[in-house]
Structure formats: structure tokens, C-alpha cells
């Protein structure tokens, strides 16, 4: 089974007080720490598990600069066989252009399965996987929480709205957007990552992919980024933990929760 996994390096933001940069169209990124996108971490783990259990070959793909190779080396350490970085140079790209580039690279790999994360932690658009499937003309399943490969396809478990699950059969080749929780991604040690440097990591320039300017032009542009305005209605409870707990209970009951 040949598998390609699309991964992205994203900033770690959960504990950070984000600030808007001078242009007002992005956040200040200078001090941010970068990691592999959480969903992509599950996707690469799923690919490696499929390889370990059913044999196969895994290629990790990312679009970005040299710094982004870090996530590829992580993927290699986790068990991917090779990695490809597409260098966009100074090009600005939106989700559509990203998916177009990815499709061009992945087309040549002749994969049975292409995995992406459901979404990326930075922009939360959740659209690259779907558009990638469209460009490749392949079947797509979104928010996948289980994959069981069979002879020419796979049984796929998909998370629906309202807490429902759906079981679908897809035939290969197919694109799946992987949901968090599908597996337990492994830890790879720093030494493991460094040793993975011996594995193949190919760099492709975006201009060598034969895409037209139209293919790469942005169809969506950010107008403004701003922090949500502070609103009224927050209530801070003070006192010792016991009193605070009683107060919380009283408020919850008051709001009509049956406890």
C-alpha cells in the first residue's frame, strides 16, 4: 500500500497571548514555537500503523521553507520512508493553491491512499483535504476516525454531526481527512528525529511543478485579523474553594441545569 501524508508546521498558540502585527492581517509570529499540526500527527501515525500492519510505503509531504523540514524529519522518525518539501519561495498561498500544489506532487507518487489532517491548527479552514481530492479526481472521506484496509479499498469510519458515526466503504485510491483520536501518536525522541536525517528528504521547487500562474493565484485574501472585543457578562467568584463551589452550583441550578 502506497500512502502519502500531507503535513504542516503550525505555531503552538494555546498558552500564548496572541498579538496582531502592524499590518493587521496576521499575528506576530516572532516568538512563537512551532510544532507539527495536531491532526497531521494523527494522520502520519495512521499511515505508519497501516504500513506496520499491512506493509506499505509512506511519503510525507509539506509545503514550506527550510524550517518546515523539521516536521518532515519527525514524520521520518515516526516511520515514514521518504519526505518531500515543496518550496514555494516567496509565493503567498491560500488553501486552494496549496491543494493544487499538493495534487501536482502527489499525482506522481501513484498512491493508494492519501491522508491529510481534518484541519490545521493555525487557520482552521479544513478545506485542503477536500480540494486535494477534487483536484486528483478521487473519492474523499472527511473526519475519519477509523481505517480498515481491504483488497482494493477500505472500510472507513467517519464522524458525523450530532455524535453519529458512519461506516463507509471507499475504493482505492482515495483521500481521507484524519480526525484526532483515531490512534495514539507515538513519541519520537530527539535522537530519533536526528537519526532520521539519513532518510531521503527531497526538495521540489514550486516553479518546477509546471503549474500556471492562474493555478497558484490566491482566491481568498485576508482583509483583517483582530482579537474579539471583550464583552460583558463574566462574573468572577471570590472566596475559599468551598464557597466558590457552592456559588457555582447555585448559579448552574439558577440557569436551569438539572443537577
Amino acid at each position: 500500500m502506497k500512502i502519502a501524508v500531507c503535513v504542516k508546521r503550525v505555531p503552538l498558540t494555546q498558552e500564548v497571548d496572541l498579538e496582531i502585527d502592524a499590518g493587521g492581517k496576521d499575528v506576530r509570529k516572532g516568538m512563537l514555537a512551532y510544532v507539527i499540526n495536531e491532526w497531521d500527527n494523527y494522520a502520519i501515525e495512521e499511515a505508519v500503523l497501516l504500513k506496520e500492519n499491512f506493509e506499505g510505503d509512506v511519503t510525507a509531504v509539506t509545503i514550506g521553507g527550510e524550517d518546515d523540514e523539521e516536521v518532515l524529519r519527525r514524520c521520518l522518525a515516526m516511520g515514514a520512508d521518504r519526505a518531500i518539501r515543496v518550496d514555494p519561495g516567496t509565493l503567498e498561498l491560500d488553501a486552494l493553491a496549496l491543494s493544487r500544489i499538493l495534487s501536482e506532487v502527489i499525482k506522481g507518487l501513484h498512491c493508494d491512499l492519501i491522508l491529510t489532517g481534518v484541519q490545521a491548527d493555525d487557520m482552521n479552514e479544513g478545506s485542503v483535504g477536500i480540494m486535494l481530492a477534487e483536484h486528483l479526481g478521487l473519492a474523499h472521506a472527511a473526519v475519519v476516525t477509523g481505517v480498515e484496509p481491504e483488497a482494493t479499498g477500505a472500510t472507513v469510519r467517519v464522524e458525523l454531526e450530532g455524535g453519529m458515526d458512519e461506516v463507509t466503504k471507499v475504493s482505492f485510491p482515495a483521500v481521507l481527512s484524519i480526525q484526532t483520536g483515531i490512534n495514539e501518536p507515538r513519541y519520537v525522541s530527539i535522537m530519533g528525529v536526528r537519526k532520521a536525517a539519513k532518510k531521503e528528504l527531497k526538495v521540489v521547487k514550486v516553479e518546477d511543478l509546471g503549474l500556471t500562474d492562474a493555478d497558484l493565484s490566491m482566491k481568498t485574501m485576508v482583509e483583517e485579523i483582530f482579537l474579539p472585543p471583550e464583552t460583558e457578562g463574566a462574573q468572577i467568584l471570590e472566596g475559599d474553594p468551598g464557597t466558590v463551589a457552592d456559588e457555582i452550583l447555585r448559579i448552574i441550578k439558577e440557569k436551569g441545569v438539572d443537577v
Binding site: Y34, Y187, S189
Partner: protein, 674 residues
């Protein structure tokens, strides 16, 4: 000897000397072969430089090997052992003499027949009785008292060996006693031989001669059987204990590198213990040397709360594995069916055992022969990390350490935010090129965890009151890596070390003072730096003793007890400084817990427990420790480690003991009196 030596006699037409030589040659060949086979294990092992500081090693060998200072920590067992050990030392000469007589090489006779011999004869006779008495006592003790710590040990072997030793004593007594009767000699005070003679007093000359010869040959046969039996089991320690003590670890609290003698750890194929040969030769020698006394497990706090860890069983299981892999007979290094596919880390030693250890060092402090456990545990953890078999809860924590320099994933930019709480106490946040007297290394918990921030704030206040020129690194500081190294993530630890060392280089300071005993230990022992590093307790004691700080306000009228944090006490021998600091506080009543100082009972630890729950646990270590404090009559437990404080606070709350017990950090208590 005036009577005819048994070897002079003929047996089945052959001279006794022929038998003597046959027994001697066969036994020594066999013994040499077995030792050579055991040596193969050492030879296959990894290197470990243990030849430095020879003077100190010799001194420790005398203290712990010959005087056996650690033995009486378990009083009666220790006394018994000392009796038998010194019996062996004294009677060794006698055995050599007897064997050489049987070979027709009475080289020791001139010495033994002289003045020395007469004194020695009395001494050896006295020791034969002492050893015999000790062996009988030990057999009875094992049969009647049955201490728990022998659970899982080879008890049959213990009885067999005690029996063999007793038999050696008795045969020599009978040999000498029958000899005395035969020559009707009286004079020298020989308590053991005379005792035997008393029982044989009615025997005829003929019978005496037979008994005399028989007891000699039985003695010789038993001696050589015993010699060959030693390397096969736990009594190998009779041969290996002294070397094991000589080669003991000299820097308690440090962790061995992933591989000795390798400059760049990337060159090591796999970190940690994958196969048996990944242990160092000293770790192998540990396996040979374990006496199965079980003091390690008896003192192990993880064991005490029902976690699946017994240090003794770790050694025993690995020794069994190794002996099966390197059998004495048969050259193939195959293992038996059961162990054929067993991985050392995972099957022989389970992950639960490996993660149960708090690295508190109680086992190592107790071991009479200085077996090391922590390095082995960490080496096994390294392999679990390398093969992604760590608890999943570590994944995010380790990622945070790497990306943000702290386990919480909080931005480095916020590392000094805690100083805002200090209000009017100015805290300098150092930058490259700055100069300062004291570099206050706050570490991650002090920087970000609200409970520990309070300790850091108190230290800052104290430093300011004493007029100390100090500063913190703030965003330039990354975690000391104590936890990372003990979780087994060696590569990440090295990364943190490099980052901090680089920062240290660019700031001029005289000494480092830490919030936390763990950071103190790691900076001092695991970092390639030579700066003076102090934990806050000894540093504030020096401020107190130089008169820069004067406690004047009385403390609250409680009964205080001091809990020795493992990384201040056991790993660094700082026991008196905190007590002196405490006694300087006006009105403070201090009681000691049963388990204090080097026998302190770990609170649960400052590493694995923070992120991994050991399910198989009857109670929290901290809860058990709180009970001990109560039994000592205290209602306030003082500690000097942030993690002890966190665990005790938790145990007090979950146990509903707020009225009976409180915990206070020594810094807070000290500050309250200024």
C-alpha cells in the same frame, strides 16, 4: 602436628596426597572454568570508567567492605553478617593451611608452629565457634522470624550455604579435637577443638583415628564444593562484593551518560538497554554481587505503597536472564524457550516496574554492597522512549519541554511573569553581558506553577532582605532537565543542557542558587559546568551564620518535623543545614520522624509521578509520609522541595487532614521570622 597427618595415610592403596592433588586440580580447574564463563559476561558488556580516585576507593573499601559500616543498619542481621565475614577473613588462612598440608606442601607450617601460630590457633578456634553460633542463629532467624524482605530470594540456597559453613566449622573442630585426644595434648586454650574433644572423649584410639581422617577429608571436600558453588548463585558475593564496593559510584545523584566513552550520542545505535549486553560491566558485576538480602526493597517507597517495583527482583530477574544467556556449560548463547523472544525491557522487566521508580535512592543508600539501581532504571527508560513505548501522557509534556523550555507549554516570554506578584521587591531579569553575584535559577515550576512561584517569591524576598545582588534569567532560562533526563529522553536533556550552558557563558556571576533540590542536583552533577551551585537552604544558612539575616519573630507554636527531600539529603548529603536553619528559628520545636535523614521516605517524587499515574498503588507515598509525621508527634511538616510540598498538600487535602497536619516550605517559615 605431632600426630600423623591424614594425607600421609593410604586409602585403597593410594597415598592421601594423590587424593589431595586430584581434588585440588579438579576443583580449581572447574572453578577457573566457571569464573571464566562469568567473565565472558563482563567482557561482553559496555565500558564504564571506574578507576579514578583510587585513594578514596580504598578508603571506602575499608569502611564498607571490611568494617561493613552499612551492615548494622539492620542491627541483628548486620551483627551476624559481621561475625561470619570476619570469621571468613580469619579462617581463610586456616583453610589454605589445611589444603596445603593435603598437597604435601606444608609451606605455612613454620609460621603455624611458631608463636604466631599459637595465637592464631586460639583466634581461629574462637572464630570457629563464633561463626558456628552465627550460622545457627541465622538459620533459626530465617526459619522463625522470616523477614519479609527475603520474599523472592533463594531461601533454600541460603540454608544450604549456612549448613555448609557450619559443616566446615564442625569438621575442623572435630579434626582438631580428635587430634588433641590422640596426642593427649592439653595446654593451649582452644575452645572449639576442646568442645569437640569433650564429645569424643569416650572414643577409642582407633575410632579417633578414623574420625580424624574422615573429618579432614570431609572438610577439604566441603571446602572445594563450596568454592565451586559460590559463582553459581547469590554467594558469588563472597568473591565479588569487595570489588563491587571498590568500583562503586562516586557521584551519587548523577545519571550515567547514554554510553560511556562516546562523544556524540548520535553515534550510539540505540540509547538505553535493548539487549543484555547494553548494560555496563559494573552493572553486570552488580548482578553477580546481589546477596538477595532485600534491604533495597524493604526501604523502597514504591514497594511500600504496593507499586509493582522491587529493586531486588529487578536484579534477580536480570541476573537469571544473563546466566541463562551465558550458561556455564554449553557455548551457545541461546536462552530457554520462555525467554527466547522475551525483551529485557518490556517482558523481563515490565514498563510498570520501570516507571514506578521515583529515583529517590533509598535502595542504593541501603545496599551493603553498593548495587546501583537508578542508572539501570534510567537506561531502561531510555530504551522505552527510543522505541516510543513511553506513557502517552509524556508525549505532550516532552514536546513542550522541547518547544517552550518548560513542561506546561507556556511561552518562554512569560517565564518571568511571576516577579510582578512581588510588588516592591525588585528582581533583575538578566540579559547577555550582565554581571551579578547570585544567579537565581528558578526553573520551570518556580516560574510557572502558582504554588511553587510562592517559594520562588519568598527566596527573592529573602535575597533582597539580605542585600544580595541577584538576578534571574527569565525568558533566557530553559528547564534544568532533571525530569527530562530521568524520564529517559536523553537527547532532549542534552538539548536543554546546551541551551542553558550557552546562556550561563554569556552572563558573569559567582554562584547559582536554586529553588529546587532537583535543579540543584542536576546543574551540579549532570551539567558540564564548574560553577558553584547551591540549593537555597545552605545558601540562606550561610547568610544567617554570617549575620546578614536574623530571625527574630517566633514561629507558630506547632510541633515541627523536617522531611528530607531525596535530592537534598540522600543524593547530596545535605542533612544538617536545613536542621540548623530550623533550630535558629525562635520558638521552634523540632521532632524527628523514624525515617529521616538518609532513610527519608520519598514523597512521590519530582518527575514521573507528575505526568504518569501508576495504577497499582495502595496509597500515595505522600499520604504514607504524612502518617509518619503524625506518628512522630508533629503537626507541621517542613520541607525544602517544591514537589514534596505539592504532594504533601495534596495528601493532606485528599485525606481530610487539614486540622491535624499542615505543610510549609522552609523558606516561607524562615521568612516569617525575619
Amino acid at each position: 602436628m605431632p600426630f600423623v597427618h591424614p594425607a600421609v595415610d593410604t586409602y585403597l592403596g593410594l597415598s592421601g596426597y594423590v587424593y589431595g592433588w586430584v581434588i585440588f586440580v579438579i576443583s580449581l580447574s572447574l572453578f577457573g572454568f566457571v569464573i571464566y564463563q562469568r567473565y565472558q559476561i563482563l567482557d561482553a558488556a559496555q565500558p564504564d570508567p571506574r578507576f579514578s580516585s583510587v585513594v578514596r576507593r580504598v578508603r571506602d573499601l575499608i569502611t564498607y567492605g571490611f568494617i561493613q559500616k552499612r551492615q548494622p543498619r539492620y542491627l541483628w542481621a548486620g551483627v551476624l553478617h559481621l561475625m561470619i565475614f570476619w570469621g571468613f577473613i580469619v579462617l581463610g588462612l586456616r583453610s589454605v593451611d589445611l589444603v596445603m598440608q593435603g598437597l604435601g606442601l606444608p609451606l605455612l607450617r613454620p609460621v603455624m608452629d611458631g608463636g604466631f601460630g599459637r595465637v592464631y590457633g586460639i583466634l581461629k578456634d574462637a572464630f570457629e565457634l563464633i561463626v558456628l553460633f552465627a550460622c545457627i542463629w541465622a538459620i533459626l532467624r530465617r526459619a522463625l522470624v522470616r523477614p519479609d524482605r527475603y520474599e523472592g530470594s533463594h531461601k533454600g540456597e541460603a540454608h544450604l550455604v549456612l549448613g555448609l559453613i557450619s559443616f566446615l566449622m564442625i569438621t575442623d573442630m572435630v579434626y582438631e579435637g580428635s587430634g588433641l585426644l590422640m596426642v593427649k595434648e592439653s595446654g593451649a586454650w582452644l575452645p572449639a577443638s576442646r568442645t569437640a574433644a569433650f564429645f569424643l572423649r569416650e572414643a577409642s584410639v582407633q575410632t579417633l583415628a578414623t574420625i580424624h581422617n574422615l573429618s579432614y577429608w570431609l572438610h577439604i571436600l566441603t571446602f572445594f564444593f563450596f568454592l565451586n558453588f559460590l559463582p553459581l548463585g547469590k554467594h558469588f558475593h563472597i568473591i565479588t562484593a569487595l570489588p563491587n564496593i571498590f568500583f562503586k559510584k562516586l557521584t551519587k545523584g548523577s545519571i550515567k551518560p547514554a554510553r560511556w566513552g562516546v562523544e556524540n550520542i548520535e553515534d550510539v545505535e540505540t540509547l538505553g538497554i535493548e539487549k543484555f549486553e547494553d548494560f555496563t560491566w559494573k552493572q553486570m558485576l552488580d548482578f553477580f554481587t546481589c546477596t538477595e538480602c532485600g534491604r533495597c526493597s524493604d526501604m523502597c517507597p514504591a514497594n511500600a505503597v504496593g507499586r509493582p517495583l522491587s529493586p531486588k527482583m529487578i536484579t534477580l530477574k536480570l541476573r537469571d536472564y544473563g546466566y541463562e544467556r551465558y550458561p556455564v556449560f554449553g557455548t551457545s548463547r541461546k536462552t530457554n524457550e520462555k525467554n527466547k523472544n522475551a525483551r529485557i525491557v518490556g517482558d523481563v522487566i515490565t514498563p510498570e516496574e520501570i516507571w514506578s521508580c521515583t529515583t529517590c535512592g533509598a535502595c542504593e543508600e541501603e545496599c551493603p554492597v553498593f548495587i546501583e539501581y537508578i542508572d539501570k532504571i534510567i537506561d531502561m527508560r531510555r530504551h522505552l522512549i527510543e522505541t516510543s513505548r513511553n506513557p502517552k501522557t509524556f508525549n505532550q509534556v516532552l514536546m513542550h519541554f522541547e518547544k517552550t523550555g518548560n513542561p506546561f507549554g507556556k511561552p518562554a516570554a512569560k517565564r518571568a511573569d511571576w516577579v510582578r506578584e512581588l510588588g516592591d521587591v525588585p528582581v533583575r531579569i538578566l540579559e547577555e553581558g550582565d554581571e551579578v553575584d547570585v544567579l537565581f535559577f528558578v526553573d520551570s515550576f518556580g516560574s510557572y506553577d502558582p504554588a511553587v512561584q510562592a517559594i520562588a517569591s519568598n527566596i527573592a524576598r529573602g535575597l533582597q532582605m539580605a542585600g544580595v545582588d541577584f538576578g534571574i534569567l527569565g525568558p533566557l532560562e530553559v528547564d534544568s532537565g532533571h525530569q527530562v533526563r530521568r524520564m529517559g529522553e536523553e537527547g532532549l536533556f542534552q538539548f536543554l543542557v546546551e541551551t542553558n550552558v550557552e546562556t550561563f557563558k554569556n552572563i558573569r556571576f559567582n554562584r547559582i542558587v536554586t529553588t529546587d533540590p532537583h535543579a540543584f542536583n542536576t546543574l551540579q552533577k549532570d551539567y558540564p559546568i564548574t560553577y558553584e551551585v547551591q540549593h537555597y537552604v545552605p545558601f540562606f544558612l550561610s547568610l544567617l551564620e554570617s549575620g546578614r539575616l536574623k530571625p527574630s519573630k517566633p514561629v507558630e507554636q506547632d510541633i515541627y518535623t523536617y522531611h528530607d527531600p531525596c535530592y537534598l539529603g540522600r543524593h547530596n548529603d545535605i542533612y544538617d543545614a536545613p536542621r540548623r536553619l530550623l533550630r535558629s528559628l525562635p520558638g521552634l520545636k523540632l521532632v524527628e520522624m523514624d525515617r529521616s535523614r538518609d532513610r527519608s521516605f520519598c514523597c512521590g517524587g519530582g518527575d514521573i509521578i507528575l505526568w504518569h499515574e501508576i495504577e497499582q498503588e495502595e496509597m500515595r507515598m505522600a499520604a504514607k509520609r504524612i502518617t509518619m509525621a503524625g506518628e512522630a508527634g508533629a503537626n507541621t511538616i517542613v520541607t525544602a522541595c517544591p514537589f514534596c510540598m505539592i504532594h504533601f498538600e495534596d495528601a493532606i487535602k485528599t485525606g481530610g487532614l487539614e486540622k491535624e497536619m499542615r505543610v510549609v516550605d522552609l523558606m516561607a517559615l524562615f521568612l516569617s521570622t525575619l
